[in-house]
């Protein structure tokens, strides 16, 4: 873990980027009255199956300090319901040869609100702090201890963000928690609850190009590296109101992991951003995904002319 922190420290001081982070939100908020929409896609290979997650998100600046966002997503990560032999499913689900191809289905909605509580601005610099809350009504048959509100669990969460902008370099830290709700399948008499999670993410970004602006039409190229860390508690499983011992099921045990997410972003005509990043496992294990993940995103800001 110490090694990871050193690596993150090195990257945060040697790279330079902007604060339109690809995977984490900055403490800065949207301009008042501005709408923006974003399409995001996350893919990874699960044996011979391409797991997909597609999300459409709308942002709105309610006040200069308050931004809200509503997301709807579809994915083929989970079955609509747990299969009949649920014990075998939990025991083998992440074993080689056990992957199943599920159809793309609607996950649910995710609501996010961020309030900027502190700003200290200087010329080409700022320090900002924001608090945020989020909630999701996703009711997928999510079968892992790790809770995740965007497309996997229903629940709520919150946290804070600190972002520092230094000319072309932006650094940010996000610390948050997730409290998942119980997934209930009344027909199969299954109650499942993922564990609570805490996460602490670091982001660094650098405005690589242009070195000097000539107009709003200049293409901006931003480089990013983000380090996401999460720690999650044990899951709870009840079948027919009977508590199931999960000690032998690694997927339901507490755990933690870290992953690097390097990425590149193109800002087009100062109104549109297109970005790609890759999640590379660095420490521990997440059962949410297998191996490396590719993330693509396109976001348009609807400025008034």
């Amino acid at each position: 873990m110490k090694k990871l922190i050193y690596i993150a420290f090195f990257f945060s001081h040697s790279l330079i980027a902007q604060e339109l982070f690809i995977n984490n939100e900055p403490a800065s908020t949207m301009p008042k009255g501005l709408f923006s929409y974003r399409y995001s896609m996350e893919n990874y290979q699960d044996e011979n199956i391409l797991r997909q997650w597609h999300a459409f998100r709308i942002f709105y600046g309610v006040t200069p300090n308050l931004t809200i966002a509503l997301t709807g997503s579809i994915s083929n990560h989970h079955p609509e319901k747990f299969p009949e032999n649920v014990n075998a499913f939990f025991a083998n689900h992440h074993s080689p040869g056990y992957s199943r191809n599920y159809r793309l289905k609607f996950d649910g909605f995710h609501f996010y609100a961020k309030y900027r509580v502190f700003s200290s601005d200087q010329q080409k610099k700022h320090l900002r702090i924001a608090v945020f809350g989020e909630a999701s009504n996703t009711m997928s048959a999510h079968d892992e201890a790790e809770s995740h509100l965007m497309g996997d669990n229903a629940g709520y969460g919150g946290g804070f963000i600190i972002t520092k902008l230094l000319n072309r370099l932006a650094l940010s830290g996000t610390c948050g928690f997730i409290v998942p709700f119980v997934y209930l399948d009344k027909d199969a008499k299954i109650e499942f609850r993922s564990g609570n999670s805490v996460y602490y993410n670091f982001s660094a970004g650098y405005l690589l190009y242009p070195s000097r602006y000539s107009s709003y039409n200049d293409l901006n190229i931003n480089l990013y590296v983000e380090l996401n860390n999460k720690r999650y508690e044990e899951a709870l499983l009840l079948i027919d109101n009977q508590y199931q011992f999960t000690d032998l099921l690694p997927v339901l045990q507490p755990g933690q992991y870290s992953e690097f997410r390097p990425g590149v972003q193109f800002v087009i005509k100062s109104r549109t951003r297109a970005e790609v990043s890759v999640a590379l496992p660095a420490y521990g294990r997440t059962y949410l995904r297998t191996g490396s993940v590719i993330f693509l995103s396109y976001q348009k800001y609807l400025f008034k002319r």
Partner: protein
């Protein structure tokens, strides 16, 4: 935070003095009046674009051009108009950033002079020297700790703001 800043400005309208620095120039300046707002807290062109869009929504504004490298907004006003300066600065805050300075370039012929100063829109500027300058353009560098960031205000007081305000600088008070 910013809302309280502007409600404070409203509360101050009757009672408080705001220090401005006046200097005059003979440089020919096209009509109508113009403003220059220095903006803090941004670097990217998308951020600048959001500020420009916000300022453009002010009815008295005819044209806005934002210097993307210096982070300064050059604003041309509609002829005969005099905007509410606090609402203009609020647009910068609405975009998510801070104003560090506001400079007015006023055509002397558009100004209503009186014995101790002049009137501009809803603002009444009092020149402490009491003399009306014989210049075509009056440049007002307006500074107030409630309008601008504390650090920007301190920088200005230390003379680090632009180093260009010593020759024709006057302290003046302004009342509404």
């Amino acid at each position: 935070m910013h809302n309280s800043r502007f409600s404070l400005i409203n509360a101050m309208r009757k009672f408080s003095l705001i220090f401005i620095f006046l200097f005059f120039t003979k440089t020919a300046f096209s009509q109508p009046d113009s403003l220059l707002i220095g903006i803090d807290g941004l670097t990217c062109s998308m951020c600048s674009y959001s500020v420009e869009s916000m300022i453009r929504s002010v009815p008295e504004v005819r044209e806005v051009r934002l210097d993307l490298n210096a982070n300064e907004a050059w604003i041309k006003l509609k002829e005969g108009s005099a905007p509410d300066l606090s609402s203009l600065l609020k647009k910068v805050y609405d975009a998510g950033f801070s104003a560090r300075s506001l400079t007015l370039f006023l055509n002397a012929y558009n100004i209503e002079w009186h014995h101790s100063g002049f009137k501009y829109g809803v603002y009444n500027f009092i020149i402490q020297t009491g003399k009306a300058p014989d210049k075509e353009v009056i440049i007002l560098k307006l500074l107030n700790p409630d309008y601008f960031s504390k650090k920007g205000f301190k920088r200005f007081l230390k003379g680090k703001n632009d180093g260009n305000n010593s020759q024709f600088t006057y302290n003046a008070s302004y009342i509404y």
